[in-house]
Symmetry: C2
Subunit: 257 residues, 2 copies
């Protein structure tokens, strides 16, 4: 379980802390523990067994040094050792996919964009769905209302906007039924193979599940799919995340929730 | 100028109208004339000399048949003749790039993602910047306030929200200075070669320029870059678009603006 162990060290580091799993030079990932984009890349890297130095950046109060690294001010950023600085999930995931194509990893069961051209197009459609549409309609608003807003200087008294939360919860149900529809007809969301679409979708749901906002019982097919990806060792990298002062519900880490 | 002519027929079609440039079977593109995502794909297809049957869909009032085609309810959608249905710019652009790699088009000067792995990562970072960040901070809000809102049933009296427009204009200046910074150090935005990053950026700016919202004179380097991409024959596909009742400023189609 070396992968999982490496990952476990990773997210138990506090802000700015550095994971030192060994003495090799390592790639460096700047992320935030609840950021769904960061989570999708952290799970991906764990699936690949890739050790990274993990550093956290606070989305609601970004440092000048981070903005110099990525002027878009968006997470995650992956600094390849003696290589390029990759900003954002799109650039990172496609770069890693190109690397895997050039240098396949023996026994690796997780091609990001598997199958034929048509199948890869379906994976990308769904990555876009979750990192684009789902984020706009659910995750972005929920994280702001539940976490980012109150952590901003002088806004500790912020309480979630009831209208926004109502809209977010309604949107989430629509997305859960779509996930259930996909998971009913296919083994994984984009087809027979696990792909980056599953990782992206699970990254968003895990961020929301931390706040017990996912009505799993009403969507058994989505729940079954999530239970399968949640039980993968690589997923432990996100399940052990904690926000000081707001623990997750008991089922958050329960693999048989 | 066959490409440009084909393109010209394309956007002069009214809603639902079909372009019939020849009797071949054709791919079908569902788009909206001011949608920046649609524009980036329309320019790309014109650069490739690819003839498509163009059909318009109204983003503020989508048809059931379109939602069945793309449940995400997002434009554009490219239906490949005897091939897959590609939803969204991410899926379409990467599919077309894979096709070009398999079947290079003689004399074609526009690889979407040119160069080395590192250079392709930079192209994707910037595509993400414009189709992601720029859209959220500028184009999406501006199009809603200026067009989509008032075209919705019962909202013909809508006038743009002053606070939102002020924020959008401030954001736009920030993005224009970044474009100028990129265009100053490089021939095109992502490097020495034209790429899909230039096409995506120009697609957003062209949608905004239609409403005379781009302070070009304050950003000469961004203006010089835009003048270069605007003068390409393929770009005519978007420069001839018109919205009934709101003509563009004179400089919109002027290649020496």
């Amino acid at each position: 379980m070396a992968r999982a162990e490496v990952a476990l060290i990773c997210y138990e580091s506090s802000d700015g802390a550095v994971m030192e799993a060994n003495n090799e030079k390592m790639h460096k990932l700047t992320h935030f523990r609840l950021c769904p984009y960061s989570r999708s890349i952290r799970v991906l890297l764990a699936e690949l067994g890739l050790q990274v130095e993990a550093v956290e950046e606070q989305p609601w109060d970004m440092s000048l040094s981070f903005l110099q690294l990525n002027p878009a001010g968006e997470l995650p950023v992956l600094e390849i050792d003696a290589g390029p600085i990759l900003c954002g999930t799109y650039s990172i995931s496609e770069y890693v996919a190109e690397e895997l194509k050039r240098h396949p990893v023996d026994g690796l069961s997780v091609p990001l964009f598997p199958g034929t051209r048509e199948e890869r197009a379906e994976v990308r459609r769904l990555v876009d769905w979750f990192h684009g549409k789902f984020d706009r309609e659910v995750t972005r608003e929920l994280l702001y209302e539940k976490v980012y807003a109150r952590l901003q200087p002088g806004m500790s008294g912020h309480s979630p906007d009831a209208d926004i939360m109502r809209a977010v919860r309604a949107n989430l149900r629509y997305h859960l039924s779509y996930i259930g529809y996909l998971a009913h007809g296919r083994r994984w969301l984009a087809g027979e193979d696990l792909s980056f679409a599953d990782i992206a979708a699970a990254a968003h749901l895990s961020s929301i599940d931390y706040f017990d906002e996912v009505p799993w019982e009403d969507y058994p097919q989505a729940k079954d799919w999530y239970a399968r990806i949640k039980s993968r060792p690589a997923f432990r990298v996100v399940l052990a995340d904690r926000i000081p002062g707001s623990p997750p519900p008991r089922h958050y880490t329960d693999l048989d929730f």
